[in-house]
Symmetry: C2
Subunit: 410 residues, 2 copies
């Protein structure tokens, strides 16, 4: 309950900045207001499974930190981030074949801040950026706020369609005189599409970036949650000059710490440091110490193993249930990692309209349109398998299957 | 050490957004690179005294949290912030005579994020805002990034000069056709000026805000650290319709938690929620639980008492040392709270030039120009008394005094 202004209050609409018109509330958030009812099964969120969190180990390291360097953990830290944490992350990245030093890396208040700061330093109003279609809606939100114009390139089973990408870039540069500011890509277990960019396409994407001098923003929150198949080198490992990589602890450790990191050219990192000074001065010292100590003690790898085993089981179950309950007209991706499955319905099914029926049947998903810069695709949905229990997955998919059958007249 | 791009790397200068030209690195930060030498006494920072941090109590509550609701503390939280924390803050604010409900309040990743989001929702490029001269440099940094034009109004012993303020507003609105977007004010123990806005001026400031329909951004990080004299009602307590108030845990509990809050019209808070979704989704769950539990157990008030006693001692000592060592031409403020003293030298002393001599003498301060939107005042400096020890205060002021005497030919 809030206290509203009296009659002499400010007419805020007259005071807001231009950019506010473009800012959009998260649709997930807004739609989930309908979803707060008992018995509702949410396949909508993007939350890690909280029953797996390494709570005891975090308790152990936090206690150690507060006992041994509590004053430092409670004081302001450097804008670049805790040096020990940056160093241990650099070493991890080096092992992954990413040739960087400490000046290539800054700690962020998780990936959302990385997206925001990347937008802030690169996007002037009306600048064109290239995104995948579909793409992560949190990225769209960050980019909308800086008044970007979007060019969307379709994603298929092998990731972003490289031929179309190059054609569109040529068209933009040579016919329209528009140089896109960057290409935003999610190469592993794409959110929401669930697909992974093939090695061949990774190499071609880098070639395109070099040929047309367009930087790539590589967002990779799920790369370390691969539970089957062969992993491919990250884009940043293929080219540290053209790629700016965003990583996060949210999916591999805990989103409640609000920590991520950016890797890139030291020149870009310096600009991001200046942006971060103006945005939050520094990420939380306490949670940075926790992440550092957790990594130093070697707790991350065993935890990730546990996560991978469990998420694979949940994905298997969701796929199994989809085969069992969905009519054959409903197509879906089969991700080798990550948290999400993407569902493609026949054009006759509008998932925005279906949403309210689904809520009545006590199952929630994220409508596909939210993941398109121009909101121009209406027959898809994103399902999450990391958060719901086995029972919820089976029952939720069953409820969705019944809805699909009804819609398709079966 | 960073790995620099090879020759085919991106020419980043061509990719940056327009606003990057206006963004400025924190001068404190840059200057303090010179200050990393053994034996240097820094009176430059704005850090709370880390020896006072309630480390044991934070250890106790953190352990309790991780034992009892660890999964929640490690999971994503709501963008508005932890409901329990918001509620307990609303109750605190109500006790302070601020008539608000929970929809008037959002948790932020400390005040710097509040400044950034306020700028983001209100400032279009070239918009005019009114700031105090001098003003908090972190606010200037946040506002520069959104390409604001600044009008600075002088601060004297009673706070911002209200007559000049109204004259400038009339001039802007009626002669130049410019409606300022907001007035940014620091009413208590001003950073850097150390002065406090009188009750009479507070009331007049609210009248001006109402008369010309210009919102006030009230930044009050130090209001609860008053160690002597009478406290005045906050601006937000005088008018919840025209004032947006920024508060923080950084100075009253711990900056390492990175937590603050904004109070305002629910309509503005909703816009800030959307901005925050794009900026960092939510503040850290873990540190929000810590702050909540700390408040709930009643640990804040006794801690604040300790802080006030200690900071008063340090302020007394710094003033005493200034009287002892500074030539009489050097003027300074006598704050009744907060962390800072403002030093005004004769025009003949340029504190930017003096800085390098001071570093040679192993004492550091923040140059006054950093606190002016147009960097047009060169004879002032900000000194901090919360962080240095008694010995450092006395010795640091002595070294500065010697420098002043040399400069003034004494």
């Amino acid at each position: 309950m809030g206290v509203s202004p009296d009659k002499i209050g400010i007419e805020w609409e007259k005071v807001y900045a231009e950019r506010v018109k473009g800012m959009r509330a998260s649709e997930i958030r807004e739609l989930l207001k309908f979803a707060k009812q008992p018995g509702l099964i949410s396949l909508a969120g993007g939350f890690p499974d909280p029953t797996l969190f390494p709570v005891e180990q975090i308790r152990e390291v936090t206690d150690y930190i507060l006992k041994n360097y509590g004053s430092d953990a409670l004081q302001y830290g450097e804008t670049e981030g805790l040096k020990e944490l940056r160093q241990i992350l650099v070493e991890r990245m080096n092992k992954d074949g990413i040739n960087i030093g400490i000046d290539n890396l800054i700690i962020t208040t998780a990936s959302q801040q990385a997206l925001d700061m990347t937008a802030k330093i690169f996007i002037s109003p009306k600048d064109t950026i290239i995104v995948e279609s579909p793409t992560y809606l949190g990225a769209l939100q960050a980019f909308y706020a800086f008044e970007a114009e979007f060019v969307g390139i379709n994603v298929n089973d092998d990731g972003i369609d490289i031929e179309i990408l190059e054609d569109r870039i040529k068209d933009l540069i040579f016919k329209k005189g528009i140089k896109p500011k960057f290409i935003y890509a999610i190469p592993n277990f794409h959110n929401p599409a669930g697909v992974t960019l093939t090695l061949e396409r990774r190499k071609k994407l880098i070639e395109i970036s070099r040929r047309y001098q367009i930087p790539i923003i590589e967002d990779d929150p799920y790369g370390e949650i691969r539970f089957e198949g062969e992993s491919f080198p990250s884009l940043i490992s293929l080219d540290t000059s053209h790629v700016i990589a965003l990583r996060t602890f949210s999916k591999i450790l805990s989103p409640g710490l609000r920590l991520g990191w950016i890797i890139g050219d030291p020149e870009v990192i310096r600009k991001i440091v200046i942006a971060k000074q103006g945005e939050d001065l520094a990420s939380p010292s306490l949670t940075q110490y926790i992440a550092y100590e957790f990594l130093k003690r070697g707790y991350l790898e065993p935890y990730l193993e546990k996560v991978k085993v469990e998420y694979k089981k949940k994905r298997d179950l969701m796929i199994e249930s989809m085969i069992k309950y969905f009519p054959e007209e409903i197509k879906f991706t089969r991700p080798e990692g990550g948290l999400f499955i993407w569902v493609m319905c026949p054009e006759s099914i509008n998932t925005e309209e279906l949403f309210f029926e689904a809520i009545k049947e006590k199952v929630a998903y994220v409508i596909g349109a939210s993941f398109y810069a121009h909101r121009d695709v209406h027959n898809c949905m994103r399902l999450n398998f990391s958060m719901p229990s086995y029972e919820q997955i089976d029952e939720g998919i069953k409820r969705l299957g019944n809805l699909f059958k009804k819609k398709l007249g079966k």
